[in-house]
Symmetry: C2
Subunit: 347 residues, 2 copies
DNA sequence: TTGAAAGCGCTAACAA
DNA sequence: TTGTTAGCGCTTTCAA
């Protein structure tokens, strides 16, 4: 069995209280006692029981995070990087992460409730926001600190970090228009996601902002996966007037789109322009390298965690809502850079 | 403040004990009492305090997992899928995951110790094994259940799941030899990792198993990232006699390798063969699609979790060590399939 | 069928 | 400076 302060108390002949205080390095314990207690604790291999501490202190030093996993081949590089950002920042401050996986929908809110009301976590991180998001509704009515990555419709009176992806998408459209594209398609993420609204909005705004004579935009809905992007692109290319520029709602779908276009014999960056969103590490090494909008996802994870830790400590946030400016990353897939002769392709 | 069984006891006029037993659905409580208690608990919005339950039951219903994160751009799709496998299986059985991020090295063992001796978790999952792995040494001397994904040197007397990646790599080599390759290179993961040993061993075995007259193999060490694979390949291609076939120790490095080769103007699958290992979802949609060895990583996560839950429950494992057979996935990057005319590339 | 009492391992108010 | 006592919210003997 494991060593408790009671054992140390017995061993040292001190009371449990004294041992507790000595280990907490309180200054109403004599130096000699502290030294004795610490030595014995060390010798006996004592580690505090965190569960007991939590119960007493009403603090767990744990941050909750629910991953929106879907099918078995859930593998969004986006999330592993976000997780690393949150996790490393949390670790810095002695916090652990309690991760559950749960698809949106039925049981979802229960997962949150159990975490919060079960007092298992000191705070929560919410990701992948939806237009109407019951999780946020719930949390805002609770007293637990939480920070959100993303926005929702309605009033944004909760702490959040997000990138201005409407602007990001607009930058893409404008860039492509500058490259003389006139027939656009957009591969949209699921409509209930808030990010879809912003990106779709940015797409439409970009098109509307010009006086040019554009073909009507083609919009298809997909699911954020490569496979989805592949299928969506197949159907786009089957149209009577296929688009010359495809803007995918995220990088993974853009990869699928490139794959589908290449399957048709199109040279991406020459015969057709394809862009993504997120700038996951893969994008740089895709073939051709993907033009996309950068999101500093590791940093966002760290920021979200930082804000949450402040809230947990009871500190004020300097800024409750942080919207980051997007950066356009132009690579070969949009054809902006001269396409090298066959056989001498990109970096 | 949140509702406790004490509140319910007061409200119903029953004792705390009775409420506790009613909620646990014990059969020494009258039906009417149960109904009363349950109704009131519902009305008051009671959720058990899991921390208090844990302290009393000496069980947390939490599984620990330490992610070996390195730099900021940690984004291994491999891990997000593994995590999903473990997480979903755990959720099925009412368990959560306590995730810490910690680079191998100095503080690593402390993270494990705090989790285990702090009684925060009922069991642990260990990933990314090293040849000599202090984590396993530590856990094997403890009494906490754990299951490992991967092997180590020395006696394998602990529960584990792994794929026979020596065989997997050998299959790759043999396949490439069948395609008339005679000059091979291997981009090795860090030497301290156990998987490196197996894959390197498989590589050498594959080469040795033939009577053919082969050029001496070129072996470079890298770090499992795309960037690493890119750099390693640059140096390989600078050699006087550059390899005609590059076997990368994982898919990410293979992507980097493809990118580097393409940068040189080489057509992957025609001028040079490149293969990976893992078969992450990306591989299918790479350009060209990557020849690799499949690892059912989601399933492995689920298996590991399943075994761990059995151990936690005190059940016997039918099989302590499970080694999965690898499957070769032949796609275009090795040139096995006839390379289509330029402009009509792969699926 | 129910309740009183003890205790999981720890912290903290209070008294000595 | 130290110890006694109470209690965090829950489960589990044991007795009624």
């Amino acid at each position: 069995m494991s060593v408790t302060i009671k054992d140390i108390a017995q061993q040292t002949g001190k009371s449990i209280t004294t041992v507790s205080r000595a280990l907490a390095d309180k200054d109403d314990v004599s130096l000699s006692t502290k030294e004795l207690v610490r030595r014995v604790a060390d010798e006996m291999g004592y580690t505090p029981n965190r569960v007991a501490q939590s119960l007493q202190k009403r603090r767990t030093d744990i941050i909750g995070l629910v991953l929106p996993t879907f099918g078995p081949r859930f593998s969004d590089p986006f999330f592993s990087e976000f997780l690393a950002g949150v996790g490393n920042k949390a670790a810095e401050h002695g916090y652990d992460l309690l991760v559950s996986t749960q698809a949106p929908g039925d049981g979802e809110l229960d997962v949150y409730r159990r975490k919060v009301q079960g007092r298992r976590v000191d705070g929560l991180v919410v990701v992948r926001t939806r237009r109407i998001d019951p999780r946020i509704e719930y949390l805002r009515n609770s007293t637990i600190p939480f920070v959100v990555f993303g926005r929702t419709e309605g009033e944004l009176d909760f702490p959040l970090v997000d990138e201005d992806s409407a602007l990001g998408t607009r930058l893409l459209v404008e860039h492509l228009m500058g490259l003389r594209h006139r027939r656009f398609a957009f591969i949209a993420p699921p409509p209930e996601l808030m990010l879809t609204q912003f990106r779709l909005h940015g797409f439409c705004e970009g098109l509307a902002s010009t006086g040019l004579d554009l073909d009507p935009p083609q919009i298809v809905t997909s699911d954020l996966t490569q496979r989805g992007g592949y299928r969506a692109t197949e159907s786009l290319l089957n149209n009577a007037k296929p688009p010359t520029a495809i803007i995918a709602g995220n990088d993974l779908m853009a990869f699928g789109a490139m794959s589908a276009a290449q399957h048709r014999g199109l040279v991406v960056g020459k015969d057709i322009a394809i862009t993504g969103f997120d700038d996951i590490p893969m994008s740089e090494h895709a073939h051709p390298p993907l033009t996309t909008v950068h999101q500093p996802i590791y940093k966002i994870g760290a920021m979200v965690c930082d804000m949450l830790l402040k809230l947990i400590r009871g500190d004020e946030l300097k800024q409750q809502q942080i919207i980051l400016q997007p950066t356009l990353v132009v690579r070969r897939s949009c054809g902006a850079q001269p396409y090298p002769a066959s056989g001498d392709i990109e970096s």
